[in-house]
Assembly symmetry: C2
Homo-oligomer: 515 residues x 2
Amino acid sequence: MTSNSHAEYPPELSQAEEQYLLSNLKDWSIAHGLAVRPAPSFVEPSQDPAGVLASTAPVTLFPSLFPRSCFEEGMAIQKAYNELYSGISRDEPWLQSIVEELVDIDDFVAKLWRTHLEVKKEGYVQELSLGLFRSDYMVHQDPSLANAAPGLKQVEFNTIASSFGGLSSQVSALHKYLLTIDAYPSSTSPMIKEEGLRQSNSASSLAKGLAAAHHAYGSSRASPSLCVLFVVQNPERNVFDQRHLEYALLKESGVRSFRLPFSETLAHTRLDSDRTLIYTPPNAPSTAYEVTTIYFRAGYSPDDYPRDEDWSARLHLEKSRAIKCPSILTHLAGCKKVQQVLATPHSPHLKRFLPNDQVAARVLETFAPIYPLDDSEAGKEARKLATDASSATKYVLKPQREGGGNNVYRKAIPPFLEKLPETHWPAYILMEMIEPPPLENAILRNGELQRGGVICELGVYGVCLWKEGNGNDKKGEVLESWEAGYLLRTKGDQSEEGGVAAGFGAVDSCCLVDG
Amino acid sequence: MTSNSHAEYPPELSQAEEQYLLSNLKDWSIAHGLAVRPAPSFVEPSQDPAGVLASTAPVTLFPSLFPRSCFEEGMAIQKAYNELYSGISRDEPWLQSIVEELVDIDDFVAKLWRTHLEVKKEGYVQELSLGLFRSDYMVHQDPSLANAAPGLKQVEFNTIASSFGGLSSQVSALHKYLLTIDAYPSSTSPMIKEEGLRQSNSASSLAKGLAAAHHAYGSSRASPSLCVLFVVQNPERNVFDQRHLEYALLKESGVRSFRLPFSETLAHTRLDSDRTLIYTPPNAPSTAYEVTTIYFRAGYSPDDYPRDEDWSARLHLEKSRAIKCPSILTHLAGCKKVQQVLATPHSPHLKRFLPNDQVAARVLETFAPIYPLDDSEAGKEARKLATDASSATKYVLKPQREGGGNNVYRKAIPPFLEKLPETHWPAYILMEMIEPPPLENAILRNGELQRGGVICELGVYGVCLWKEGNGNDKKGEVLESWEAGYLLRTKGDQSEEGGVAAGFGAVDSCCLVDG
């Protein structure tokens, strides 16, 4: 990655080269739905009240260089991650022990758990669960070692609303197209080769996951019409990303789906006496659809629950017979505390879910050391590291809650903790910073071209459909499991937060390079 | 078309129905490139200097009702039209007799003809010609006859830059999608049936035409790299329409193409000594492409030739060895004077090009009577009809030049002619108004929804590749000919000009109905 030829990547473009690349990129992206609704700062809503405008999604001009060995390892171990997280979701007692450490400090986790307990009281009526996961990594290359081999280190594991599976398929196709039409100057030919540009099949593969759940649900009890329900935020600027999954689901599997804003759940759905979930489309109130699968693209953030009614809505959905993607326990399995206890050095937990030692060792290899900030031995050690100005520079402090946006980095950690009452410290974990190799790229975002150092995050999608354990079979079983394509997300290395839709990054694709 | 059930079409929508239909339409259109760059009146260029914004192309919410028999006749006779117009293009003496009547009054035609003569002086070096035609029709139903059977009447025949082949494929897919997801209320089910919604394969089929020319050109003389050149206007709001053809050409036939603004022709192309056309992309000035086929999406309007240099550019392209789509003679074959002499009652001309009487009769059936405004017998009759306020109401006055935008309708004709010196009258033709049956639809355009009476124009695309005649074979021969999908263009019946990109209409698809 740091050899001489790569240092020149991407190349400087002449004005004519840049014009050619950009005009082709801008037209291709709109022609293929690699798009977002424009940010209010770009187009004021009053200018386009009907919402017909769209813009090119934030994208990189070039595919970013990515070590082939790391990419292939990430793809190869996704099935192990599917097994790990579906196993955690099925192990309520273990999950309870994790959640109990959080309920006093994380109101959102507490409310999710209470919702689970309420459903449990009545009894769950659906034994199938679907996960559309995304495991996020960065390449780590120890800067203090010359010629250190690059390795993959996990940033986080998403169990709910894993986004960009739709746009990711489009951006890898875009970069391939740009290569085909010679939009990349010939100086890049040692790096950008057809063979090294990996097409992400995420849109189709995630849609197949939804179709698998839909079909596993079985035939209808209440209505001749079955559907998948996309529970969404409203408005949603990243709507095309979700739509590509819907279109693939319809086109490739013939499965109908509807979009329902989370805040309108109770208005348009009801439970039958056997807790079959019935969706009545507002446009056709006399038609009842039986919901086979609820796909949450909302409900993952406390911001989605401004009213008590929103918690009633979540409970209502969880009680239903529909397959949840994800179930509330799977949602909870994604909290950072879980990642932390798995990645705490010498943790016994990984083995519990991955009995095969070799598989567990490969997964463990992708963990960056993570410490709790509690009273345990590891926690005490972490407190020392985090409050010391010099050692803190190697770490990031992350809230255990989902959603991003609140990480504290390196030398900002000690003053941050100083202001925070110690009782609140356990709401955070301390994670060793991943040190990605230096890379450059150019990003087109809201019509602005930015160029410079970047940080890339590889997300590997996984689809997993499983059956919960019951009296006879405590552990349940995995029915379907596959790796489902990838996402590369790239941001300027000046910003330290990810999240393309949140405003700091761009979708990208991998240009695999050896060594 | 006027039975009771159709009178209710399209139905009134409840607010929820309209919201469902529109949100699905708006998202699908952007996700599938059924888009245009926004008009400056909608988004000021200064707001988006990089040009990353796009909006849903103007579309109808519903497919318009269209008589099945008319649709099928239009599709069926397209190959006859291909034969007719490629025959006209190959008959220079006949074309000369037409053009001679125009050169004094139509400077544009005169210049095109002079360009032809200049090339002829040096000798044409390419015997192949490609036509991507579009024959435009309206349904005519005589309002004075009860229960008159609907017939198809030709509005015009386009031999150059026939547009909307790209978007047309997308809009018919959109309407099918909206039917599939039940966006059309159940009251429409007697009319909108899967079987009656005709998918237009125009994008793919027109691209196949370009590929056929490209391959017929033969192997390269000057360069290892061959390409098709799209000669375009700049800027071009309707760029995605053209791009869909480019993408299909690359994806389905593996043929490279470039977009070159007409005004930059001389800067980036040159002729080899044997008049091979060489294109040097500005982004890769050391790479030379041999142009097999020039696809004109510019150069059809006098506005494209503001400088003398632009005529030099046209001459330069015409002299080249590349296959022209269209050649300058084919371009001239599309002038309205040709349509007029063919459609003048009792004209002997049609038979010259369509020796098969049955074929000629079917084509003739699609002509609306057209009169010259010259000194011929028919012309004298026409002058009477056009200057009389009561008879003029059945006619439209059209300039013989291409481009639209200057038609004069019905009672506006007499005062218009009064102001025009009689020597200029022969620049116009008088055409009997086609009387389309009353139809309604709703159009989404620049985010505004308009509802009401509409007029539909059916365009049928045709691909024709032929060889010019020479000493031994005066008539030449048609090598390839096929019908290439359709376009339905719909405008409010308040405006009397067509042209979706020009600002008055929308792209639409056919919902075939019997009777």
